[in-house]
Symmetry: C2
Subunit: 209 residues, 2 copies
DNA sequence: GCCGGAATTATTCAAGCGTATAATATCAAC
DNA sequence: GTTGATATTATACGCTTGAATAATTCCGGC
């Protein structure tokens, strides 16, 4: 008749654990399975605790969405910042986007689960917009440096257009690779991306690949 | 104390109505809201009827997924078949993919809702794979004709690679346009796609745009 | 050591879920 | 018209859901 023993953890860590558990459950069993009970079991706590840290289950799920996007953004940013030349950064950007830390069943499943709510829920829409613009800005700065160093600097509107095109292409390849990865060779997507970006930017072959 | 009156309709029509109602509910309120009661209410029948036409609710949802994919495939195919020259077909393909009959909140929401299950459920995986390959084949044949007529015919592996790259780019733009369409000018995505495909195929400017 | 506040558990509740089954209204055939 | 088959409705059942509340356990400050 005794209660479970438990130990207290700092608020920051507990929130992080709950968000991690939320992502785990969604990734492994889908949004439908992301119930208060499943998530709390995964986090090793009881359901009531969720409402102690989040005003509702939905708010916790939104926090998990933010966490996923932030992680993807940071992964790519770290890879880019580790390089200095425009060419290396461009290569790092592509590689990071198509590397299997980002391109895997877990990430695409999570991403799709959330994207499905973007048009239905204003809260999700706001989060999506925020990170979409961040992704775009990230790529634009890499692209600007790369083109400058190649002596192909562009005016702002042209740069923005190229950014959208390249971003779209890489997103598309990311999607293809993630969802239908078994149809690609190991590094095929990255190779295609290198050559495609060269072409999109009007550069000669071999500038990236 | 009288029952609702009703009238019988053919099996084909009833199934179609139920599938349409399923898509409507998912598009408007998400997969979570796609319950037997919601869907049957939308279709103007009672819940029990669903189990009369489908062995389970999940099977009906899968049928709805197939219906969505088939519709997208057919929309593009109709547009392509209405043209004859390779250039016109290529243009029609791009335009159809980025036209707002395919690029809209409804379609992207439905698509994302289903994609989120592809990695979790073998039945969804099978449906996805079937239509992904059909989309690729569709594009490959358009691309082959276009390149042949431009005197730039490719061997089979190169053609497949180009197909994947172009498909990825168009998918990415489709995604961007669908999810963040308010950030684009009306025809911006299609224009970007024209120029990007030219570049991806190594053709001169103006071949498509 | 023990006290008090707060983190955590335990329990409860009404609502909604998918499915099974029984009752009944419809419609074609004659 | 009646009848027979069956499409459709109605109802019930056992479970699960998110949330609210009450009861406890932990642990830093004293």
């Amino acid at each position: 008749m005794s209660r479970r023993t438990f130990h207290r953890v700092g608020e920051v860590e507990r929130r992080r654990d709950l968000i991690a558990a939320t992502l785990d459950v969604i990734a492994e069993q889908g949004l439908r399975a992301a119930t208060v009970r499943q998530i709390s079991a995964r986090a090793g706590v009881t359901g009531g605790l969720i409402r102690h840290y989040f005003t509702s289950k939905d708010q916790m799920v939104q926090a998990a969405y933010r966490e996923l996007m932030q992680g993807m953004l940071r992964t790519v940013d770290d890879a880019v910042q580790a390089c200095s030349s425009g060419r290396d950064r461009m290569r790092a950007f592509i590689e990071a986007n198509l590397h299997d830390t980002v391109t895997n069943a877990r990430t695409i499943t999570l991403w799709a689960a959330f994207i499905g709510n973007v048009k239905l829920d204003p809260d999700f829409a706001a989060i999506h917009r925020e990170y979409y613009l961040a992704f775009l800005d990230q790529l634009e700065s890499v692209l600007a440096q790369f083109l400058d160093e190649a002596g192909q600097g562009l005016d702002k509107p042209s740069l923005r257009e190229k950014t959208i095109a390249v971003n779209g292409m890489i997103d598309g390849l990311w999607l293809e690779q993630s969802v239908a990865g078994e149809l690609f060779r190991e590094t095929e997507a990255a190779e295609i991306a290198y050559r495609s970006v060269e072409k999109l930017l009007g550069l000669g072959e071999g500038m990236l690949a």
